[in-house]
């Protein structure tokens, strides 16, 4: 099948590649770029395991073609930490609050939560629950995910010191 040239920024890095027009973005990210953090859980946009941050929006990449991401600025879970390895407050908070178990939904969940906190830096628990309702988790029952996002928000807003959660 004829391939199409695409160019995009992924985790701050310029990417150029030839892809088949029918290649799903999640397959391109996972198999060509070998960023296997985002997962595939349903192929129907329901579970959110494949969530990427694309041009400032949370996008389920299992129902988007790689060619549609031409020119896009994409962030995956692998790009969440800072260049020096310092983890994003969400990554710390998910561990501290036991916001994950099998880990399969976690990359999508954190990527979604990252955008949620950009959109609403100080969400209520109800707003957090609504904000992550496009991401399914089968292990945690969400309660500790909500707590983790709340903790990360507090830290990012400077309303909570790091020691208090220990």
């Amino acid at each position: 099948m004829a391939k199409t040239h695409v160019k995009m920024t992924v985790n701050g890095k310029e990417i150029e590649a030839l892809v088949e027009p029918r290649t799903l973005l999640i397959h391109f990210i996972r198999e060509e770029l070998e960023l296997t953090g985002p997962h595939i859980g349903c192929e129907t946009s329901h579970c959110g395991a494949c969530t990427l941050d694309i041009d400032g929006k949370s996008v389920k990449s299992c129902t988007m073609f790689a060619v549609q991401a031409n020119g896009a600025d994409i962030r995956t879970i692998e790009g969440m930490a800072e260049a020096d390895g310092t983890l994003h407050p969400l990554q710390d908070a998910f561990r501290e609050m036991h916001g994950l178990q099998c880990g399969f939904c976690t990359p999508g969940m954190i990527t979604r939560a990252y955008r949620l906190l950009q959109e609403n830096p100080n969400p209520s628990d109800e707003e957090i629950r609504m904000g992550i309702s496009g991401n399914l988790c089968r292990c945690t029952g969400y309660q500790n995910i909500v707590a983790a996002i709340r903790l990360a928000a507090e830290r990012m807003n400077g309303t909570q010191n790091w020691e208090a959660a220990e």
Binding site: E20, R22, T23, H27, R30, E31, E34, L35, T36, G37, P38, H39, I40, G41, C42, E43, T44, H46, C47, A49, T76, I77, E78, M80, A81, L87, Q91, D92, F94, R95, E96, H98, L100, Q101, C102, G103, F104, C105, T106, P107, I110, I128, R129, M130, I132, S133, G134, N135, L136, C137, R138, C139, T140, G141, Y142, Q143, N144, I145, V146
Partner: protein, 806 residues
């Protein structure tokens, strides 16, 4: 050098041993997207397999034409039953003593059954080729309703069993009958019923549902033809069993097969069985000499691998007028689908369903289970429960509520009246189990006090009166459940998988610097084994948990174990961990005695080392002992510090809990709101309270889904109608209630550390609790039982039937 001068509390805290809310080791990689799941595996020359599946639930396969598919560039092979017959693999044995088609051999028995396996250079070409395989079917009459399976003129599903009147579990009564399994004293039970002052009888259907872990089933098979070695990565909850089965099926010697379960994205029972995808991938790799990857999509997962439940339980209780239960009788019609592929211990065709007498002192009981074939997917896995325990608990906990209504007693009071009392343990149940321990009344009373049960009942009465007056359109339901589980399969005298006893194992090696590695026969799918086993070892050995690596899932390195399901990791492998640690500690004590030049009986253990009795300043810390193990052991002792334990548990463990749910139901929409859910669990000794709480949250959420809407449904034609996440209910964060957790601690007397297992309790205990709440909301209107799932439409329909809404 004496690091034991530090105060005891500080040394204990440093270990992060049992009882500590230790943060999970696993999360460091998972939160950074560095987990390693099967679909993340990428091997040189790897190719992809995909299935052609039957659109029909029951049909003869007249012909399969693979030529167009094979002609497509990039397609390497198309396997059919005919191909598999050349290697004697068109059929495979199931864990339940039946056989199952790997690929359709002459006919199909359920919709989406595997018909052909296409292998191509990439997954897109494989999908294209699937469409090019032409299969000619001749439709046959479909059997969907299990209650019609044994009618004289019911369609014959399993022609391969024609004339076979004996199955793996005794006589077959009909061509669609699989087994009848009976337990208990039938005559004594009949007598108890004939003498009873009060009896109740109700059919409780526990509908078909599915574990639906977020990661579907998958594998990569890689045959090295030169070395004659097969490596198989997969989403396996029991990697060693898969190795043994793969060896038996393929005739590759077992030492030439390496099975690896990498990180697993949730299991919940879905990943216990052996599926056609695994067999076809192995055959494909042997044929092609290239690694073959197979990954289910979600529709395949929901419609073809491993359903759960589908038990239809006619349950009866006999009691005195005062509410003392005198007998229990239950007949189960079990829908097993097209093949009996239940993942139960081999001698238990209905699992441990005979735990049905539950937490109650019931003197006589009898249970009969009839398994039947239907045109539905095979499976019958223990979805976050020990084998058929959730079905049994559901029947008992619904039945006791029905009895309470009939007696006009409060359901919590009726439970209290019938509990097995603490002094009765070890308690032999009427159906053959010996419960190890329990203190049910304490747990029930704590639950009732915490939620102010009496206050809730008063509020409910007020709300019902307000409803009568037309002041509200809501009804309030209070659900109570008190469950006793049976987990930790199990003693090898009565539990095996294909003849292999259900022990489990731990192998520990201590390094000279006092760091350690422990390898286990189990495999985590999110339970946090890397964290919790290290905590057991930390407490047992006085080595900080952070200095202990836990490794699982690679059959080349891990000791043989039966895997993780049925809440067996803590009861069995957790015990093996403690026992192996104690072997090491015994040797450490001899080394310490040698180091300190005293008799070993003169030493006493103190957190992380030994002290000389009466001379507390004379110590040998574990760190010092580990070093000495490699250079200063007593004469005639082998150097090194290693141990292995294969633990055969003397009994199951019996975790229990008291759950209470408060729910409001809008009669005009059927919508419900869980106002409060309180879960008290007693899992014995608590290894990591944070992880226990997380397990409980997750199990409650699954139980909520099952009770309130999740279903694998079939229409009358045998089409599965809920095979995508559009139709199959998985709660989001919005629907999921807030969970309150609590605990009591009644240690298991036979488990080395007193632990019982907890992962499945919340699923088992919560389903009847939600269902009881729904039924309780309507109980004052004469309702005894509404079938699950209690989705809005079904509840609304009940409201309409009762004339509550227009």
């Amino acid at each position: 050098m004496n690091d034991m001068t530090v105060p005891r509390e500080e040394r204990e805290a440093k270990l992060e041993g049992m009882g500590c809310k230790r943060k999970r080791v696993e999360d460091v990689r998972f939160t950074q997207g560095k987990g390693n799941y099967v679909d993340d595996i990428k091997l040189k020359d790897m190719v992809f397999g995909d299935f052609v599946r039957s659109p029909y639930p029951h049909a003869r396969v007249k012909s399969i034409d693979t030529s167009a598919a094979e002609a497509l560039p990039g397609v390497l092979a198309v396997l059919t039953a005919e191909t598999l017959k050349t290697v004697n693999l068109a059929w495979m044995p199931t864990l339940a003593g039946d056989v199952q088609m790997v690929l359709a051999d002459g006919k199909v028995l359920f919709q989406n059954q595997e018909v052909a396996f296409v292998i191509a250079e990439d997954r897109y070409i494989a999908a294209d080729a699937v469409d090019l395989v032409e299969v000619e079917y001749e439709e046959l009459p479909v059997l969907v309703d299990p209650f019609k399976a044994m009618e004289p003129d019911a369609p014959v599903l399993r022609e391969d069993l024609e004339g076979k009147t004996e199955g793996a579990h005794g006589a077959r009564k009909h061509h669609n009958h699989i087994f009848e399994w009976t337990v208990g004293d039938s005559e004594a039970t009949d007598l108890a019923f004939s003498k009873a002052e009060v009896t109740v009888k109700e059919l409780f259907s526990y509908h078909r549902c599915h574990p639906c872990p977020l990661e579907t089933c998958a594998c990569v098979a890689s045959m090295d033809k030169i070395k004659g070695e097969l490596t198989l990565w997969g989403t396996f909850q029991a990697p060693h069993v898969v190795r043994t089965v793969a060896s038996l099926l393929s005739t590759i010697p077992e030492h030439k097969i390496r099975v690896i379960s990498p990180d697993i994205g949730g299991g919940f029972g879905n990943k216990v069985g052996v599926y056609p995808g695994y067999v076809c991938s192995i055959v494909g790799s042997i044929v092609l000499g290239r690694p073959v990857k197979w990954v289910e999509d979600r529709i395949e997962n929901l419609s073809a691998t491993a359903f759960a439940r589908d038990y239809h339980m006619t349950t009866e209780l006999a009691a005195t007028a005062e509410g003392k239960i005198t007998g229990l009788r239950c007949h189960v019609l079990a829908d097993h689908g097209g093949f009996d592929a239940c993942a139960d211990p081999s001698k238990w065709p209905a699992g441990f369903f005979n735990i049905i007498t539950g937490s109650y002192d019931i003197p006589t009981a009898h249970v009969a289970v009839d398994g039947v074939y239907t045109n539905k997917a095979p499976g019958g896995v223990a979805y976050r429960c020990s084998f058929r325990v959730t079905e049994a608990v559901y029947a008992m906990e619904r039945a006791i509520d029905v009895l309470a209504r009939k007696l006009n007693m409060d359901p919590a009071e009726l439970r209290l009246k019938n509990f097995i009392r603490p002094e009765q343990f070890p308690y032999p149940s009427a159906l053959g189990w010996e419960y190890d321990s329990g203190d049910y009344e304490t747990a029930m009373r704590k639950a009732m006090e915490t939620v102010d049960y009496a206050g809730l009942r008063a509020e409910q009465a007020e709300k019902r009166a307000a409803f009568e007056r037309g002041e509200t359109r809501e009804l309030m339901g209070i659900g109570v459940s008190f469950f006793t589980e049976i987990v930790g399969a199990g003693p090898t005298r009565n539990c095996d998988i294909l003849g292999i006893g259900m022990f489990d194992s731990c192998e520990i090696r201590i390094h000279p610097t006092g760091a350690a590695i422990a390898r286990m026969g189990t495999i985590s799918q999110g339970q946090g084994h890397q964290t919790t086993y290290a905590q057991i070892l930390a407490t047992e050995l006085g080595i900080p948990a952070d200095m202990i690596d836990i490794e699982e899932g690679d059959t080349d390195t891990a000791p043989y174990g039966l895997g993780t399901y049925g809440s067996r990791s803590t009861p069995v492998a957790g015990a093996a961990t403690a026992m192996a640690a104690r072997k090491i500690k015994a040797k450490a004590q001899m080394i310490a005695a040698h180091m300190l030049e005293v008799h070993e009986d003169d030493l006493e253990w103190d957190v992380d080392g030994f002290r000389v009795k009466g001379l507390p300043e004379k110590t040998a810390s574990m760190k010092e002992i580990c070093w000495a193990a490699y250079n200063n052991v007593p004469p005639n002792m082998e150097p090194g510090l290693e141990a292995v334990s294969y633990y055969d548990p003397p009994n199951m463990t019996y975790p229990f809990g008291a759950y209470i749910c408060v729910m409001d139901i809008d009669v005009d929409t059927g919508a419900h709101k869980v106002r409060r859910f309180y879960a008290l669990d007693d899992c014995g000794t608590r290894i990591n309270p944070m992880i226990i709480e997380g397990q409980v949250h997750g199990g409650l959420t699954e139980g909520y889904a099952i009770a309130m809407g999740q279903e694998i449904a079939y229409d009358d034609m045998g089409n599965v109608t809920t095979a995508s996440l559009m139709d199959f209910f998985l709660p989001t964060a919005v629907e999921t209630p807030f969970w309150e957790t609590d605990w009591t601690v009644t240690p298991s007397p036979h488990h080395p550390i007193g632990a019982k297992g907890v992962g499945e309790s919340p699923n088992v205990g919560s389903v009847p609790c939600f269902s009881n709440a729904v039924n309780d909301a309507f109980a004052h209107l004469g309702v005894t039982h509404i079938q699950m799932p209690h989705d809005n439409w079904r509840i609304w329909r009940e409201c309409k039937r009762l004339g509550l809404t227009g």
